[in-house]
């Protein structure tokens, strides 16, 4: 029974890797078969991943976020849930081409990490933390998908600017849709991040006695927040061109990735519980 989550995680890794290949092939050749298999593999991966997560929670008996592996898995799950919803709702095909390799790498990497290390630090067993972690991770998922839409926008825009249209031009969604999804996702992600930080700092004030403890992850998060705040301000005041919007959201997401991994491994601070 303890091996079951690992097996499911392994299946998910393979499925996401296959979904990557099929998506890339779909975008390049625009064959319906490839599009179908991309969606099928991604969905199977998602189901396996979810089941693995549920078994893991059942085994551990609590919401898993205590180890880096667990936090990563939660992020992957939120990200894939959001993407699946997006794909189903908009009838997208092959658009997960940049997301699926990330999901495959993340779930593959999580396979190599110890499962129960630091699982039950008492300091983390607090509903405030659960809410804080869920909100922040959800906002990261939204920003991640916005970055994905930005990348796809740049690909489609490149085709239109170069005036040399390949099948990719036909298989990618139109600029208006990519731009709109990008905007919507940022609009959703920003309040999530804001509330997530507020919850986190309230909890910090109870544990460490300060609303803004000196912690590199927090500093990065505040910088991220400022980045998106400025972006939203500019967007609503004077509008931002499609390419700039795509580049900015892509850069914003990269900054989050740096925060997520960098501060966990390179810098030491209060968020390094494990």
């Amino acid at each position: 029974m303890t091996r079951l989550p690992l097996i499911l995680l392994f299946v998910a890794t393979i499925a996401f890797a296959l979904a990557t290949l099929f998506s890339a092939r779909y975008l390049r050749l625009r064959r319906n078969d490839d599009g179908f298999w991309a969606s099928f593999c991604a969905f199977s991966g998602y189901v396996a991943f979810t089941l693995g997560g549920l078994v893991r929670v059942a085994l551990a008996g609590f919401f898993p976020y205590g180890s880096f592996a667990d936090a990563l898995l939660v992020l992957v799950w939120v990200l894939s849930t959001a993407y699946m919803a997006l794909e189903l709702h908009w009838g997208l095909k092959g658009t997960g081409v940049f997301l699926f390799p990330v999901l495959a790498l993340a779930s593959g990497y999580a396979l190599t990490l110890p499962v129960h290390a630091g699982a039950a630090l008492p300091i983390l067993r607090n509903p405030w933390v659960v809410v804080h972690v869920s909100l922040v991770l959800s906002s990261y998922a939204a920003f991640g998908l916005a970055g994905l839409m930005g990348a796809l926008y740049l690909m489609q825009e490149r085709q239109l600017k170069a005036k040399r249209l390949s099948f990719m031009h036909f298989s990618l969604p139109d600029l208006a849709m990519l731009s709109q999804l990008n905007e919507t996702l940022i609009t959703i992600g920003f309040p999530l991040l804001t509330i997530g930080i507020v919850f986190g700092s309230y909890w910090a004030s109870r544990v460490w006695g300060s609303y803004l403890p000196n912690d590199p992850k927090l500093v990065w998060a505040i910088l991220n927040w400022c980045f998106y705040a400025i972006y939203l301000l500019v967007r609503s005041c004077r509008g931002i061109g499609g390419r700039k919007k795509a580049l900015v959201t892509l850069a914003g997401f990269l900054a989050i990735v740096v925060n997520y991994f960098g501060t966990s491994f390179l810098l030491h601070g209060l968020h390094r519980f494990f």
Binding site: L29, Q156, L160, K161, K163, L165, M177, G239, I240, G242
Partner: protein, 439 residues
């Protein structure tokens, strides 16, 4: 039974010949009927479009081919066609050709979609005229299916094949649906008017017209129920509209990067699609480099069409694989039909035996009630069918393989092979006309 194709198309016949043989819509059924009578055919379907006239037919003898050609020559008002005007095919090759035609692989514009509907209509008209049967039914219905399959499984019909549609398609990849988008016509040329009409047909809402002579702008704007402007308003208009079509006779570009850049702020990130159909160009090419602004001139659109057609030709190779696979399937079906008369013979032989046995039982047990008699008959028939099943399947499989296999299977079952089957077609080609009225 033999299948035939006799036809000519834009590759083999000049337009005068095609015209002479063009059967108007609604007439092809009648022509098929004439053909059946004049060329002594079993079934016939006539497919006639502006690019081709083709006769698909089923007949008992191999000579039907020359009879069809003669009728066509007669219809075209000439004694005979030049050497390679007509192309012909027989049996499974007929399916091979028609599948390619239905998928648009044989069309002037590769992958064009109209031909599929024309194939469907040709069959419907022939069907209504009563010139279709088992063979034409199977051939034409499968052709429509193959055409559909190729359109969904390959990209042979992808990408616009004409300049005006290429513009619409590009607009869709920039804006998504065009409903409610606004267009601006700069200059009042005929080409621009046509392009605007096309966009309007695809959902574009309001149309603005800007022209050097305001009166001309007004008349054109009235046609689209749009707004007329003088050319001075061009700058401000570029800040509002989504699609702009320029076609003035100005010797120098009238839309400059600075002019558009000033409007970008007004546009708040909304994309702008400029179609420049003027020669010399009305729009400075540097405008295309601005964020969210896409400028396509007439050469660009032509290049898009060319590249789309090149993509389609590449996909045609993929489609040809499907055609080959489907042709093999049709070929097997066609050979299996050779087993049909044998199966009929087998069945009637069994029915005779059932009748004989039933007769004997009734004679021995005359007191049997009608109900009992029915039970016995049902049992006998059921037994016969069960015994026959394996033999029928065996016959079909053998027929699907080749003529030799069918022949040995028939010999094993003590059945006589009909004279005009494929096994003997070359030997008895001319003698088969009066035989084989079985289907």
């Amino acid at each position: 039974m033999h299948l035939f194709l006799v036809g000519l198309n834009y590759k083999t016949a000049p337009v005068e010949v095609r015209e002479a043989l063009a059967i108007p819509a609604g007439e092809s059924g009648r022509f098929a009927k004439q053909l059946v009578a004049a060329a002594r055919l079993r079934e016939a379907v006539v497919l006639s479009t502006c690019n081709r006239t083709e006769v698909y037919a089923a007949a008992d003898d191999a000579d039907a081919l020359s009879r069809i050609a003669a009728v066509l020559a007669n219809t075209a008002g000439r004694s005979a066609f030049a050497g390679n005007t007509l192309y012909t095919a027989t049996d499974a090759h007929v399916a091979n050709h028609l599948y390619g035609v239905a998928a648009g692989l044989d069309s002037l514009v590769v992958g064009e979609p109209q031909i599929l509907g024309q194939v469907r209509n040709a069959y419907a008209e022939a069907h209504a005229a009563g010139t279709t049967g088992l063979y034409m039914g199977q051939l034409l219905r499968s052709a429509v299916e193959v055409g559909k399959r190729i359109r969904t499984e390959t990209n042979v019909g992808a990408g616009a094949a004409s300049i005006s549609y290429a513009a619409v398609e590009l607009a869709r990849k920039i804006f998504g649906a065009l409903d409610g988008k606004t267009a601006l016509l700069v200059g009042a040329g005929e080409m621009a008017e046509l392009a605007a009409r096309n966009l309007k047909a695809h959902g574009v809402g309001r149309v603005h017209v800007a022209n050097r002579t305001f009166a001309r702008a007004e008349t054109l704007a009235a046609e689209f129920a749009g707004e007329a402007h003088s050319l001075d308003a061009l700058g401000t208009l570029l800040g509002k509209v989504d699609i702009c079509i320029t076609s003035t006779g100005a010797p120098e570009p009238i839309v400059h990067p600075d002019m558009v850049r000033r409007q970008l702020r007004e546009r708040r990130g909304k994309p702008l699609f400029i179609i420049d159909i003027a020669v010399p160009r009305n729009v400075d090419p540097a405008v295309h480099r601005l964020d969210g602004v896409f400028v396509y001139n007439i050469d660009d659109l032509q290049a898009v069409v060319e590249s789309n057609l090149a993509l389609r030709r590449g996909e045609a190779l993929e489609a040809a694989k499907i055609v080959a696979a489907e042709t093999a399937r049709f070929s097997r079906w066609l050979r299996e039909q050779e087993a049909v008369p044998l199966v009929v013979e087998l069945r009637s032989r069994a029915q005779q035996q059932v009748a004989v046995e039933l007769e004997r039982v009734t004679r021995r047990r005359p007191q049997m009630s009608a109900e009992d008699k029915a039970t016995v008959q049902a049992a006998l028939e059921s037994l016969a069918n069960k015994l026959l099943h394996a033999q029928i399947v065996g016959l079909r499989t053998a027929a699907g393989q080749d003529a030799a296999a069918l022949e040995s299977a028939a010999r094993l079952l003590g059945l006589s092979l009909p004279q005009n089957s494929h096994a003997h077609s070359s030997a008895t080609g001319t003698a088969g006309g009066s035989q084989g009225r079985r289907d």
